[in-house]
Amino acid sequence: MNRSIVLAVTLAASLSALGMEAALAQEAAIPPPQHWSFSGPFGLYDPEQLQRGFKIYREVCSTCHSLKLLAFRDLTDRGGPGFTEAKAKAIAASFQVTDGPNKQGQMYQRPGRLADHFPPPFPNDQAARAALGGALPPDMSDLAKGRGYERGFPWFIFDAFTQYQEEGPDYIHAILTGYTAPPSGITVPPGASYNKYFPGHNLGMPRPLSDGQVKYTDGAPETVDQYGRDVTAFLAWASEPKLDQRKRLGFQVFVYLIVLTGLLYFTKKRVWRDVHHPAELTKPPASA
């Protein structure tokens, strides 16, 4: 039901790629920084949030956006949404996947398995463009790493110390919540929607989320802000599924390196003691 509504809305609104580029010069607002569970040296994904985010991807985004680098088996990975294997199998089976050719030489549809990747909503880019009036929705697998905004001096220097890595998620959340009425005097070309965070402001994607659109079963608020946060967290996981493994190993490496470097420092100090306080050099020269 929801799927068809979104599809219909998107179909009706066609994107003018040329109009987008012409307006690129316009300044976009800076995305406000959000709190993410996966930021900082110990921050990990929140499985419940990822499950909610997956629900939004499934019911809303997947109508147009592919997620082709992800396999159904990834849904059970540690540090991810934490679906049980049975649940992930059921999710996979609810998707129709193209396989083949079979013995008759025909391609055929079958329910998905854990090893399958998420099937794309359109068979190819041209089909997507044809269906969406020329617009090509980007694949979402790497979206959270492939988007961002200019941090500028001196913030980019501070970011190295504060470990701020969430430009992509902040930007995506800002886009999802940034649909406003255009300021007076600004005309939005047909098929585009005004978004204050999008460079050039005329976004080909019509406003995808509205309050109460997706039903949550865990009591989380059903607001655009919460939806945006949840689906962004899901996309962050999709783009960096090994974050959990990376940060855990990183901590171990740090403990190891600090101990090793400390031991090397004291060994070095011991060896160089005689060089820095050279007994033979501090004596008066024999020939003096």
């Binding site: 492939g146 940060k247 490496v253 020269p285």
Partner: protein
């Protein structure tokens, strides 16, 4: 040297081998008893760090190559499959990608040290020229490697950089087509870049061997720039330099690990997580940070051919430092004027780096032109003239004298009779 510098193995097999291939003796004389100046500071550990990083890059690179597919249609997805499906593939790739950056961090520190302490001067000219060749090879290797993930920045960086060759009068267009293997950057380009990216590190390794060989012939420079005169001026390489290098490699790895594990994409461009698309140009095409000063020089010059000449010249001129610098005093510590001009030069290079990351418009271009002018004026005019007019500070008689003067209490004079 003393009798201890002769390698006399205890192990019967090593004695047998030594008479046939004196490799044990080579290692012993080069890395154990090799006399190293006693006053070296931590800037002298970057040589060891660079050797270490070269090994890291080759090891991670060889394993990555087992999983990578050099095909314009498959390259991007194969890198993503390394990140997602290969065991610890994310670690290999993040170490390799950030390793390139840290390789350049180390090489820039190494170059800064060489320039500050005059390590390029007689008799170390060949050592220095080999170093500039190594830097050029690193620049080429880094660029070729950045193209391999075949993201938007990979593709467009390849397009911009290879197009520079079109500035060559007459044959430019033909050269570019020859580099591309076609009429645009495409699959043949990717294939040859991959092949060369695998080849160059081994050429680098070969030149590193020459670099270290030359170093061991002329010996290390030191912060005073005064050659070691007696055994008192030096300490054996092992354990002194070995441990100092090992400790500082540890410190360096802590910085490296911070990037690899916590901010692995800090130095990466988001656009490179978008697959290459020949029909869509990114808003700003920016090279990796370590090329930015040279990129700024390129764009500061309005004429394309002259810009390319300036770009190449800015690196090649460094090879002529031993002859551009006419002063006989090595270390900037004893050259007050040179020291100021050199520190400004370093600041100018950092400034150019910042400007290289900005769009080439308005005030950024003007600023880049001023800084580019200083870059060349410093190398071509200030350096040759300074040696003729500068009054230098008196040099210490020996390394040990300078070490003692530094560790002596204020007011005391060397030699320090009766000091505890």
């Amino acid at each position: 040297m003393s009798a201890s510098s002769i390698y006399t193995p205890q192990n019967p097999f090593m004695r047998w081998l030594e008479r046939r291939l004196p490799i044990g003796g080579l290692v012993y004389s080069s890395f154990v008893v090799y006399p190293t100046p006693r006053n070296l500071n931590y800037w002298w550990t970057f040589g060891a760090i660079l050797s270490f990083m070269l090994v890291v890059q080759i090891v991670t690179g060889v394993v990555l190559a087992m999983h990578y597919t050099a095909n314009a249609d498959l390259a991007f997805d194969s890198v993503e499959s390394i990140m997602r499906d290969v065991n610890y593939g994310w670690l290999l790739r993040y170490v390799h990608a950030n390793g390139a950056s840290f390789f350049f961090v180390a090489v820039y520190a190494h170059i800064v040290r060489g320039m500050y302490y005059g390590s390029y001067k007689e008799p170390r000219e060949v050592l220095w020229v080999l170093g500039v060749i190594l830097f050029l090879l690193m620049v080429a290797t880094g660029f070729l490697g950045y193209v391999l993930p075949w993201g938007q920045m990979s593709f467009w960086a390849a397009t911009v950089i290879t197009s520079l060759f079109s500035a060559i009068p007459g044959i430019g267009g033909a050269v570019v087509e020859w580099l591309w293997g076609g009429y645009a950057v495409g699959n043949p380009t990717l294939n040859r870049f991959y092949s060369l990216h695998y080849l160059l590190p081994f050429i680098i390794t070969g030149v590193v061997v020459l670099h270290v060989w030359a170093l061991h012939v002329v010996g290390q420079n030191n912060p005073t720039g005064v050659e070691p005169k007696t055994e008192k001026d030096t300490v054996p390489f092992t354990p002194h330099a070995t441990l100092k290098d090992a400790f500082f490699i540890g410190v360096f790895l802590l910085f490296f690990a911070w990037f690899v594990f916590y901010i692995p994409n800090y130095l990466y461009h988001p656009d490179n997580y978008i697959p290459a698309n020949p029909s869509q140009t990114p808003t700003h095409i920016v090279p990796e940070w370590y090329y930015l000063p040279f990129y700024a020089i390129l764009r500061a010059i309005p004429n394309k051919l002259l810009g390319v000449i300036a770009l190449v010249g800015s690196i090649v001129l460094l090879a002529f430092l031993p002859w551009l610098d006419t002063s006989r005093v090595r270390s900037a510590n004893y050259r007050p004027l040179f020291r100021v001009f050199l520190l400004i030069f370093f600041a100018v290079v950092i400034g150019l780096g910042y400007l290289g990351s900005k769009p080439p418009e308005g005030g950024y271009v003007t600023a880049a032109r001023f800084l580019t002018a200083y870059y060349f004026i410093f190398l071509l005019i200030i350096l040759p003239l300074l040696g003729l007019f500068e009054t230098t500070k008196p040099l210490p008689n020996s390394i040990s004298e300078s070490v003692l003067r530094r560790s002596a209490p204020a007011g005391a004079s060397a030699p320090l009779a009766g000091r505890e």
